[in-house]
Symmetry: C2
């Protein structure tokens, strides 16, 4: 299971991280500690939330980060860096702390899912790799969750490897999809690496290799009598594929005491065909034969097929899941929030013409606030050292309506970030994928309002602030204006 | 440079390849040879063509394909495969032949860019990996070529790693972008692995780390006096960033005899700001200071900015390049074209309700036909053993208008596929990336009509057929109808 870590992932960075690090090295004998937050600004597909994924790989990356002699020689060849700095890199290891949401947490825009507290150079060098890891898996987990919700209890499997953006995208995409509720993947390497259930039967090439469809199906059933799922759309689903499949069920499987497990349709009008096929199978006494469909599916086509009464037991979802086709960029960013000065963290804020791009400054904590029924009513940002006590009414500020006097009453609270890396080393046990998957499901079943889960115009989750935190942010903005 | 090959890329497959292979193994003592074609059906972004990329990685993959004991143990744990088949896998190596277009070839829908001629099991097992490799790099090369064309001679650099679909997507995406005309990348690992020029200066965090913008710029210029490019949009481009940059040029660089190399704008109205900034720089005597812009660019925004008179020297293009955001799925497929029977290849055809999904059957060759001015006027498919002689008028069939009597006259012809892998081993030297990049440029400059290169409603390249090949295809369709 070491393929990921034996690759040269340490060099996965933007060059500017090195030019900045070399500059910091030149100007500062000891590197002050700084705080960077990772957060995103907009939910994919105009949805109500995203699912935080990729944390295990982020931890693996920072724990293994180092530069080989070959790496140093490459940097030297660029003629950009001082000899002292390159010597320093030889023994470089990431020595900072990382706070993060548990993997699988439902997250919202503008709250830090990950916070890096580290010496300046350490914090700067991990920027691009951390972002690529969180962006990719959160993108696919969020997209898959939408597809799984659209399937409304029916199985969704990842069939996307061939259209993934190269091998990592297939493998870590399958991982993210499984976290978010896919029942499995077709990608063998993902199955092997992460113990995800794998499935797969035949391609059109199997059917086309043999002289006719019946022979092809028969040959398959003879080898896999307990797992016969037949691809019925190579020539003509209704006039050829299904009749041949029924004949195999009767002539090959039944004499062996076996049942035809399923058929798959990979083209055509899936709503129409599935209804027609269901009727044909039922009339042949194959009521237990499952109907699997695939071909350019996503949450929108699945919703439409089911609304038309499509008779479908399972969806194989490929390219639109593994590339998140309708919105393939997850835009998490890495922004400096504070700089250590004389033993304390001085907040930094990035202003912008666009109000929504102003960052949330300082060392802070993120809380999820739950109402009496257990549903999350808001998230809350407060200073790192503030006490957030919900045992009595708690006054908070809605930054979009700061003039209002608002209170959380009869609420419970959970802090979302946990310390996962301390002085460069993992301090939380590696979490099992099944546990992460169950955590996602539990949140969507019991904690996240249906109004946030719908696709059209979902409810916007509140991101509130403690009064002190809000005051601090406003005073920074006032100072900058001056 | 072995990171790619030391990873377990052999397990990058869909499970159905294994279930089919195990089935073929059970039914056939010797595996007949088969022919599979890789082709795609639709140009991305409604463009006129695509750029074939990823071939080097495809060759590396088939040459290194093998299964470790750990892999075999994993397959055994699935309880799907026979002991004999698993024993066979222990010594499995890909033993087939591969014909392919030279990497960087401009390609069109429905012509095979890659053809695999191999024993049935070998041909089946490589399906998903080959597709993922060709789909990803062709996607990014095709997209980048569009962006480079929009930039109209100005430099385009890949800045996308953080939004790539994981690490491979960043690294091999940078490779594909460079092939297609990007001048370089910010991704260090891609620079190191493929000797691509790298660039990068500073992030907003550098500016925010210091107490003010002038100090941040000064600190940078002191370390990089020969390569000072300043990011000027952290607070306010016009009122703060550019005045501070000009002050550094005058007070820090000029006394050292150095010039300010450039400034970068990463937000706001890039057309408006670049014009205003150009004027301010020129008035300060910094006519040689380059203006670099970034922030959600693609061929459409670049075209728009330039049409508005934007004063820009270089574009840093991130998420929309590295994810091919506007059309992130490259849909190449792997379809069986022929099966060996009694020493000859019997063609196979896949029919479909959709006429454009009917495959081109049989073992064949693809030719590019050039008119007298050197521009490619059409591509031509003919049988593998046919002679295509352009020294006299050559009759061909346009499959969309087969009733017409058409001839190529005074044309030259080039065969596009070359044998690159023979009996599982590379038989062409590894091609240098610079050579591939020059080949792309030469085609776009000299061989591909501007009418095919435009973004709106480009000319559709003809894919013609030899009369014999067309007859063969039609007779297969007639046979199937019967």
């Amino acid at each position: 299971m070491t393929q990921f870590s034996t690759r040269n992932i340490s060099m996965m960075m933007d060059l500017y991280e090195m030019t900045m690090a070399n500059g910091y090295f030149a100007h500062h004998e000891t590197q002050p500690r700084v705080i960077f937050d990772i957060f995103y600004r907009k939910n994919p597909d105009e949805g109500g939330f995203a699912i935080f994924a990729g944390l295990e790989q982020m931890i693996e990356y920072v724990e293994n980060m180092h530069f080989t002699e070959e790496d140093i020689a490459y940097f030297e060849s660029l003629n950009l860096f001082s000899g002292e700095f390159l010597a320093y890199l030889k023994d470089f290891h990431f020595s900072g702390d990382i706070y993060a949401f548990p993997e699988g947490t439902v997250m919202y825009p503008n709250e830090p899912c990950v916070t890096v507290v580290a010496p300046l150079i350490d914090a700067q060098l991990v920027e691009t790799a951390l972002l690529a890891l969180v962006n990719h898996q959160s993108l696919i987990a969020t997209k898959t969750s939408r597809i799984v919700r659209a399937a409304d209890g029916r199985a969704v499997s990842d069939f996307g490897a061939r259209r993934a953006h190269n091998m990592d995208a297939a493998v870590y995409g399958a991982r993210a999809a499984y976290i978010a509720g896919a029942v499995g993947t077709a990608t063998v390497l993902a199955g092997q690496k992460f113990n995800i259930p794998v499935s797969g039967t035949m391609a059109h090439s199997w059917v086309m290799f043999y002289q006719d469809e019946y022979t092809a199906f028969k040959k398959y059933a003879e080898v896999y009598p307990d797992a016969t799922v037949l691809l019925v759309d190579t020539y003509d689903v209704i006039h050829s594929g299904i009749p041949a499949a029924i004949r195999v069920a009767k002539e090959v499987l039944e004499p062996m005491g076996k049942r035809l497990k399923g058929i798959r349709i990979d083209s055509g009008d899936l709503a129409y065909l599935s209804k027609k096929v269901r009727k044909m199978l039922d009339e042949a006494g194959l009521e237990d034969c499952k109907i699997v469909v695939s071909n350019s599916l996503d949450e929108y086509t699945i919703t439409s097929i089911l609304r038309q009464g499509g008779q479908i037991d399972a969806f194989g979802v490929g390219e639109r899941l593994i590339t998140a086709k309708s919105d393939p960029v997850f835009g998490a960013v890495y922004k400096i929030a504070a700089v250590e000065y004389e033993g304390r963290y001085v907040p930094r804020i990035k202003v912008s013409e666009a109000v929504e791009k102003i960052t949330n400054p300082g060392f802070k904590r993120v809380y999820r606030i739950y109402g009496e029924e257990g549903y999350a009513v808001a998230d809350l940002i407060a200073g790192f050292d503030e006490v957030v006590d919900m045992s009595k009414p708690y006054r908070y500020v809605d930054p979009e309506k700061p003039w209002k006097n608002r209170f959380f009453e009869n609420c419970t609270v959970k802090e979302l970030q946990q310390l996962v890396v301390k002085d460069g080393k993992r301090v939380q046990p590696k979490r099992d994928l099944e546990e992460i998957r169950a955590y996602v499901k539990q949140q969507l079943d019991k904690e996240i309002w249906q109004e946030e889960q719908r696709f059209e115009n979902p409810h916007k989750h509140y991101l509130d602030m403690s009064p002190d935190y809000y005051e601090m942010k406003m005073s920074l903005l006032h100072d900058l204006r001056g």
